[in-house]
Amino acid sequence: MSQVMKLGWTRWAATALAGAAMCVSVSAAAQTPEEFYQGQTVTILVGSPPGGGYDAYARLLAPYIAERLGAEVVVDNRPGGGGLLALSMLADGSQDGLTLMHASAEGAIMSQLVDREGVRWDVGELNWLARTAEEPKVLLFGPESPLQTVEDAMNADVVTWSATGPADNISDVAAVLSHALGINSEIITGYQGARDMSLAVVNGEVDAGILSASSASRLVEGGQLRAIAIIHRNRTAYMPDVPTIFELVDISEEDAWWIDFRAAIGEPHRAMVTGPGVPEDRVEYLRQVMEDVLTDPEVIAEGEESGRRIGYLPGAELQQLIVETYDSAAGDRLEEVRRVMLEDYL
């Protein structure tokens, strides 16, 4: 009797197990991304400590993304290597689509362009989900700087600039601008971040500086810095009165390539990205979710209020933009780009 019961129990368990296994395999095959994300925990990596711009945007968006996905969304700050550490974690980690990063696409392109140590991914193979924000760079002079206009800089014996290091999205912009306009520049690296750099322009330690429009607008409004030109074809909503560099100076087509090329690298700016091996349907779904969130009037209004302007660009377009920009500096051009950005003015 007991043996029969035992047998019965075993058979029952085996059937149940087989059934469960079938269910699982069926559901895995038919599981839509919507179902997959339900009740999961999604991590948004941020490559800088709490309190910075990337962190602020990530925390602004997290609750809205959570609502759309039906998942819990946590922001995980992983500072190190200027964001490289977190990006490597994303690329090397599990490719199930549960880990995203709010990253600097601009920084990723630049890092790969200059072949920085610690780059272990291909910027074109990462799955870019959406641009969250975009802002051009601004040319700035200090209040006491002898330079008044762009022409002054072009005619000066030497113009000094502040930067944190080579290819830091600041020094390379200054270098490209100097190359295009024929400014005899000396870019001084070693400053410890945007604040330290801008302080050096404000207190006159250097003649000129480059900052992103949102950081610059605060100092310009306070009268600490003078905004001279937007380094882009178009003006920016952050400071609509400041002319573009193309409005101020006649630039030949060949010279303009440099400014346009660098502006194109800056175009993707802040973006949501996920690993290179994430299944295609989940990438598509995440791109759709990002679109819903980043075009939601409530999100846009909340961003506006806290000084975090949303600048949405769909994931597919962003991916194409990144690949095209990277490829436009191939072959001999790449050598020249590296020389101008890393050697000529540093």
Partner: protein
């Protein structure tokens, strides 16, 4: 004037007071637990200030952060383990005092010095509010560079018992600082193709590894508690006696506080070095320098006054320009944005009332925390009778969890252990760990700012007024012992 009144009114609102008190309580706990720092506290609390009134939210974070050093002094003195990196200097004399039964006196002196230092820091801040911007603007790379050089000369003072080992330790610290990105060229050095090494050795695990782990190991080896003569000496009376010590040496407190304000004021100089500079300065000017390291009450007062006053200094560039004076201030600036404020030049123009509110919070939080801990001191001090073999594992766990939580990074725990072993060896062979830490923190600054100063100003930067004055002070300080010796011989 109306700004000041509005600021005081917003400080006095029940909501602001309640959150400040909550912040003080949280800050004291974070200070008491080794490994949990003010930086961690402020980072963990940041999400909670969403939607608060700006003055309330900011003063909540500031109060929390400001009193962490006060709480940390307790752990440093009673169990010889720094609660936070800025309490490392306090261990040197506070712990020997506790061991010989003067824990109460050391506590009283430390807490009182912390309170006075904190208040002085905020007084300087309030006095400077109208003229903040020109002062911060005056400091350029040559000034920062020479102050860092001045800091390095303190290695000689700290290592004066055994000059060879002191200088070797300082040099080792400088060598360890060369790992990771070279700030000028962006080239990582000695990174061994390991991503975690790109930024070099992180400060918090290094400081806590060097100073906390060897003490925890030693604690685990003792059978009984820290205090060999029971806890009678940590009665309120003894604590008040220590408080009197601080008041008697008020000029030492003032001097140490001013060092703190000064170092805090300069962005990039890093608050962790300030207490060591104050300690070294106190030792150099003391009538009994030989007592330092063996339980000198002056050696407790100087770093504790300094580590609280430096927050007032660090707020100066934070408020004036939105340039963080320390890593915790960088998070505070993040909180500005969260609360819809903009840290920067126009902040003082538009929100002087919040600046006043913050300054007053800084002063009051420091006093409240000190009074609170003086009253609780006799109870908290009972930890010293807990047998070391029970206390040590507990401390080790909180240290590891705390270190991990700073950046959620397991590699930092590994660094903590590596530097713990190094610290243990250095302690065994009587090398100078403070000198190592000072070299570690200051070397990259000297390297970076010398580069910037020489490129931006040319080599004549040394002849700017402040750098020249500092150079003269350095030369005098280095030559003084020789002069004194020669005079001593001549007198005989």
């Amino acid at each position: 004037m109306s700004d000041i009144l509005t600021g005081l009114a917003s400080f006095g609102s029940p909501e602001a007071l309640a959150f400040m008190l909550a912040g003080i309580a949280i800050g004291c706990i974070f200070g008491l637990v080794p490994g949990l720092s003010g930086l961690t506290a402020i980072a963990l609390l940041l999400p909670f200030v969403y939607g608060m009134d700006p003055g309330v939210g900011l003063s909540f974070l500031l109060a929390t952060h400001a009193v962490v050093n006060t709480g940390g002094s307790l752990t440093a003195i009673l169990v010889g383990i720094p609660g936070a990196p800025s309490n490392t200097a306090t261990v040197l004399d506070g712990y020997p005092m506790a061991q010989r039964g003067e824990g109460g006196r050391a506590l009283g002196a430390a807490l009182t010095a912390s309170a006075i230092g904190g208040v002085l820091g905020s007084i300087v801040l309030i006095a400077m509010l109208p003229v903040l911007q020109p002062i911060v603007l005056y400091f350029q790379s040559p000034e920062t560079f020479m102050i860092a050089v001045l800091g390095v000369t303190f290695i000689a003072v700290l290592g004066s018992q055994d000059m060879v080992k002191g200088l070797l330790s300082g040099a080792l610290g400088m060598f360890l600082a060369t790992f990771g990105y070279h700030s000028v060229s962006g080239v990582p050095r000695f990174w061994l193709d390991i991503d975690q090494m790109l930024d070099g050795f992180p400060l918090i695990p290094v400081a806590l590894g060097l100073f906390a782990i060897p003490e925890i190991v030693a604690l685990g080896q003792t059978g009984g508690g820290v205090a060999r003569r029971g806890i009678a000496e940590t009665s309120l009376r003894n604590i008040l006696k220590g408080a009197a010590d601080a008041f008697v040496r008020i000029w030492l407190v003032v001097r140490a506080s001013l060092i703190g304000v000064f170092v805090g004021l300069i962005p990039g100089l890093g608050g962790e070095t300030a207490p060591w500079m104050a300690y070294a300065a106190a030792k150099a000017t003391s009538r009994k320098p030989e007592e330092f390291g063996h339980g000198s009450v002056e050696g407790v007062i100087a770093p504790e006054a300094c580590n609280n006053s430096k927050e007032g200094g660090a707020l100066v560039p934070t408020l004036a320009f939105g340039i963080p004076g320390s890593s915790a201030m960088a998070i505070l600036i993040g909180a500005f944005f969260v609360l819809g404020l903009e840290a920067g030049p126009q902040f003082l123009r538009n929100h002087m009332d919040i600046a006043v509110h913050l300054s007053v919070t800084l002063a009051v939080a420091n006093i409240v925390a000190a009074v609170l801990l003086i009253l609780l001191g006799p109870y908290l001090a009972r930890v010293t009778v807990v047998p070391g073999r029970i206390l040590a594992p507990l401390l080790m766990v909180t240290l590891i969890v705390g270190t991990y939580s700073v950046e959620n990074n397991l590699a930092h725990v590994l660094f903590l252990i590596i530097f713990g072993v190094l610290g243990f060896l250095l302690k065994e062979f009587k090398f100078n760990r403070p000198a190592l830490l000072l070299g570690f923190v200051l070397a990259p600054m000297i390297e970076t700012y010398m580069h910037i100063a020489s490129r931006a100003h040319g080599w004549t930067f040394i002849f700017r007024p402040l750098p020249l004055a500092i150079l003269v002070i350095i030369l005098l300080a280095l030559l003084w012992p020789a002069v004194r010796r020669r005079r001593g011989r001549a007198d005989r």
